[in-house]
Amino acid sequence: MHVPERAAADSAARELAAFLESRREQIAQRWADAPLFRTVFTVSRDEAVEACKAVVDALSEVASSGRLESVGAPGFGPVREQLGHMAASRSRSGFTPGQIADEAAGLRAVAVELLHGEAQGPPEREAPDVLLALTVLMGTLRLVLMETAVSAGEELIARQQLQLLEVATPVISLWDGIIGVPLIGTLDSARSQVVMESLLQAIVEQRARYAILDITGVPTVDSLVAQHLMKTVAAARLMGAECIVSGIRPAIAQTIVHLGIDLSSVLTRSSLADALAYALARQGIEVFRRADGASPR
């Protein structure tokens, strides 16, 4: 970049800063009606206007520092949290980062319109430069918002994973004193910790003597999963409950043997029904079909 060009760019940035400062109120009033602000700051219109003013202030700060293209400009600092809140709120309403960025692009038109109004009378020579500076700055704001939207999305995913952890480990009561945990999906360390906790709690709450861990829905049993299972069984035993692992499919049984895992300390049954029959029998309960074949009344 030539030196004169740089000087021109700097003066355009300064002029833009001055424009944003002087038109702060008008811009804020009009942005407050844009969906990006209106739907996020719902307490009152004043709340939305204040939020808009904070963004205008940040933009004029960035403009006066001359770092129009810098996503990391310190001027954005004071509103980063607010922008993150806005992005998170929009993404919770089902908007993608791209759609949120489009909403931010909509804010530019308002500012451009006001800038054009400024240039009434004899067209000023610098006006196109200021317009360019404004366009660049609004593009940068869009990127900042997009950045926060993406991290808000990541947060959402992490939260959903956590929810899934808890939802996917129900402890069901099968019979008086017999509980069952159908395990489905990957049994990583975080997941097996949740399983262990909810199982032990259920043992206490339901005074369970038998706990059936059904692994029909676990696709892979490697040494770590096996270790988790053995620890869970040992912990349940300490609580006075006997664990039965059911649902070991033939392919998994062969693989466990080749891996060299010794599950002989763990009571296993091939199906949940077998495990339940075992637990019932141990309680002195026998299940059989009535000789006359009639269904009970």
Partner: protein, 149 residues
């Protein structure tokens, strides 16, 4: 080994978290199924991959997995590479022993994985990192070998 008769594409996957391990298992299963591995074989190779990828993550500090589909004439197979730039393994023979662990595991990952595939080799240099390579071939019509379990 003879050169592959078909230029097969290589898939590289990062290993940096538990979620990555789940994705590696998923991808390996997908490739194995497409190449015609039976259910038991699929389960074996996926389990071996799970062990080795976890070693890459836990002992190697993260790295990557590579999946190479193999086409040798009518034969179909998979070569998997697990690469890290971690501390390396000082004594490979010891590490391959059943029950040997430096990290409170069962010590069955490496030795067990070897029994689940056709070939397993370890290239490692203390301080430089580790590459574990495994190869498994699709077995046609599971042969009944008398006298063997």
């Amino acid at each position: 080994m003879t050169p592959a008769s078909e230029p097969a594409t290589v898939t590289s996957l990062p290993i940096g978290s538990d979620a990555d391990l789940a994705w590696v298992r998923h991808q390996v299963r997908q490739f194995a199924a497409e190449l015609g591995f039976g259910l038991v074989q699929q389960t074996k190779i996926v389990t071996a991959a799970s062990e080795l990828a976890r070693n890459t993550l836990v002992h190697g500090g993260g790295g990557q997995a590579q999946i190479h589909p193999l086409h040798h004439g009518p034969a179909r197979g998979l070569r998997l590479l697990f690469t890290d730039t971690g501390p390396g393994i000082r004594d490979v023979e010891l590490a391959m022993t059943d029950g040997y662990t430096t990290g409170g595991g069962l010590g069955l990952g490496l030795s067990g994985a070897k029994r689940l595939v056709d070939e397993l080799s370890v290239e490692t240099e203390p301080g430089q990192g580790t590459v574990v390579t495994v190869v498994a071939w699709v077995t046609r019509a599971p042969a009944v070998r008398p006298g063997l379990g």
